[in-house]
Symmetry: C2
Subunit: 409 residues, 2 copies
């Protein structure tokens, strides 16, 4: 674990924030979402190019985790549970199809390439991930978070994150040589979904009372900080209950949305997000190792072949998921494309595969390539598919409105 | 170095922020500045009582350092260099007297208690420190940052921080057995002051141009983040030039104040400060070890004796400094009291003395006691001396105005 002096830490923040702003601005200039620029900025300052930012330094890692939590809190603040429930059936269909189709296609592809059963399972599992952070930020960029497509994607991505946890648990058990029975799978599923349901029910009952107590605090900024405390507390509780931290942060946002202080909290969280959220995307970019994809390197050629197959099956599988809810009237292509990015969730799977000795470094390179390409593909594709004009969003009081948490020209 | 998982990190932030808000609110309820509550909250959650927060964990330490930098940036944004210059002579007199008097008194007191020459020098040096963070936050709490007394204290505290660096360099040289000549002292002084002057001159010339470029960025929140980048960059540069990080952050605020984007940046930095600044004060509180001051422990009794002497000489010495500028028309008691808190600067000196083997653990305890008492004494004393009504501050557009960066009932 690398030690960091305060001055070095400041210098690293300067590099990360500058990269985010410069490349984010450049991306917008060429008509792309700022988040794409931030990811590319991360690659540039990361180990592959300039070597200025190491996302594995503990403090940088923790700040970027705080960044995702704040992003999901902000998304929760934008999420109307009622209208998400209305498209709940559609979201469930998309989420399940978005797990089954990519897993099946990826597993079959790997077996045809002659890879071991366990490698094929792990690679297939990596394909099931959806990065809610990236898609949500692009939707927010485009002012589409509240459109039916946006609600379906958001719901499906949340369900997908929970399914991802179940898969992680099951695959983790397989790798350890444990027995995977329907009851262990059922228990893992129950834990993951039970958390969200439990929090929302308990929260609805207790939060108005908490807000009343908090309203008696005179200190400026207190509502925002209490909102952040709730998000971090639920994130912690989520992990302790076998769910995912980001689910907890998201639940906090959904709960706060209904309260009297929602607008003030949203304003403060957006200001914090301006600092923390780009740190996350730059860190994701910085964790990309380009040398594993250099075609002059024989091992990298194998990685490129595996990666190409996984990209095709990954894109086709998620696009298919978009068409799964045949009854849905909206643009099914938008839903499919919105589910494509694997982002940090995919990287977590890939790194788990490497750490457990399932993937060799070439296979890890191939899976990483798939994660990068799918992550980078979705923002420009969504930009093409979505109408250019932005909808009015009720919560947006000014330019700093949360609609940003990504940026918008 | 203790490893921290994201969930643990979130839990620690929850504890720190809750302690800051609860004790800050309680302090205000009994008519004290919120910062006093945050310091006490830090003691409660720190190793001495609940043991929930360890300020030596790297990430917590780095975040609290970022907190001071943001606080000094905010103070710089409030600082009118012109009116600070007008009372510049007064500030210089206060700063120099505030170094000479406490050092002389403390050194003499230690020698009378039979302590070694080097211990007496180190203890005297610790007495020279002034914690600009704590006093500035109290002044800001009271709406007195712009009063003549506030300007003198701020100027003197900044000069004092720079003198502190010179003393650290000189004492560091003494301890290493190096030769301390007038030229080494002169060089250290020049480095420390030269940085501030250089940055302000270069900054005035280049910043309007930088702001013009930055104005062409479309991303929301960009001015705030660019302001933060400037502060972190200058903080880094300050340390590299042999000055102090907080001087760099302060200089950034002073420079930005003159630009077109000042108000927007101040607004955003205040929102970030609501999160980061309390982390710093809670961390300072958490680093207090109460057991070193338990009178049932014989070593602690020695520490209490030394501490009592240092508190008296420390308070008398700084109060004397307040009376040094005999020509000053304002309230000299306010200036003296404003210079009393040693805060984190005093702790840095004390820890250096311990680490270099100059202080034994009892002497360290005594010096720490002095740092704690002086730090905790100033807020309530200032509260008594300053008139209750708050002045209108031009920059304050709403309750969230920077005037807070501390809080105000």
């Amino acid at each position: 674990m690398q030690h960091l002096e305060p001055a070095q830490f400041f210098a690293m923040l300067v590099v990360m924030l500058l990269a985010a702003k410069i490349f984010g601005e450049l991306a917008q200039r060429i008509g792309q979402p700022a988040v794409l620029g931030e990811l590319i900025g991360g690659i540039v300052v990361g180990g592959s190019v300039l070597g200025k930012v190491d996302p594995h330094i503990e403090t940088i890692h923790l700040l970027s985790e705080l960044g995702v939590a704040i992003l999901l809190l902000a998304i929760g603040l934008e999420t109307d549970l009622g209208s998400m429930m209305k498209v709940g059936g559609t979201s469930v269909a998309v989420a399940i199809a978005g797990v089954v189709a990519p897993f099946g296609l990826g597993y079959a592809g790997c077996r045809m390439m002659g890879l071991d059963n366990i490698v094929a399972i792990m690679a297939g599992a990596t394909l099931t991930a959806t990065s809610v952070g990236i898609t949500a930020r692009v939707l927010s960029d485009m002012g589409k978070l509240k459109a039916p497509e946006g609600q379906v994607i958001l719901g499906a991505a949340v369900i997908d994150d929970i399914l991802g946890l179940v898969i992680l648990t099951v695959v983790g058990g397989l790798v350890k040589g444990g027995v995977v029975t329907p009851s262990t799978v059922g228990l893992a599923t129950l834990q993951a979904f039970g958390f969200l349901a439990g929090v929302l029910i308990v929260g609805r009952l207790t939060l108005p009372w908490i807000i009343r107590v908090a309203s008696r605090f005179d200190l400026p900024g207190t509502p925002t900080i209490l909102g952040l405390i709730l998000a971090l507390l639920l994130a912690w509780l989520a992990e302790k209950s076998g769910s995912a931290r980001i689910i907890g942060a998201f639940a906090a946002g959904v709960l706060i949305r209904g309260t009297a202080k929602a607008q003030e909290i949203e304003h403060g969280i957006t200001a914090l997000g301006h600092f923390f959220v780009p740190l996350f995307f730059v860190a994701v970019g910085a964790s990309v190792d380009l040398s594993a994809l250099d075609p002059r390197n024989p091992e990298a050629r194998m990685a490129l072949g595996l990666g190409a197959m996984l990209i095709v099956t990954g894109v086709v599988g998620k696009m298919a998921a978009g068409y799964a809810p045949w009854w849905f009237k909206g643009d099914k292509r938008v839903i499919g494309v919105g589910m494509i990015p694997r982002g940090e969730v995919g990287l977590i799977f890939a790194q788990m595969g490497l750490a457990r000795g399932i993937f060799d470094s070439g296979q890890f390179g191939g899976v990483t390539l798939m994660v990068i390409v799918t992550t980078f593909l979705a923002p420009p594709l969504l930009k093409v598919l979505l109408p250019k004009r932005r909808e009015a969003e009720p919560f947006e009081s000014d330019d700093d409105g949360i609609g940003y948490l990504v940026s918008e020209a």
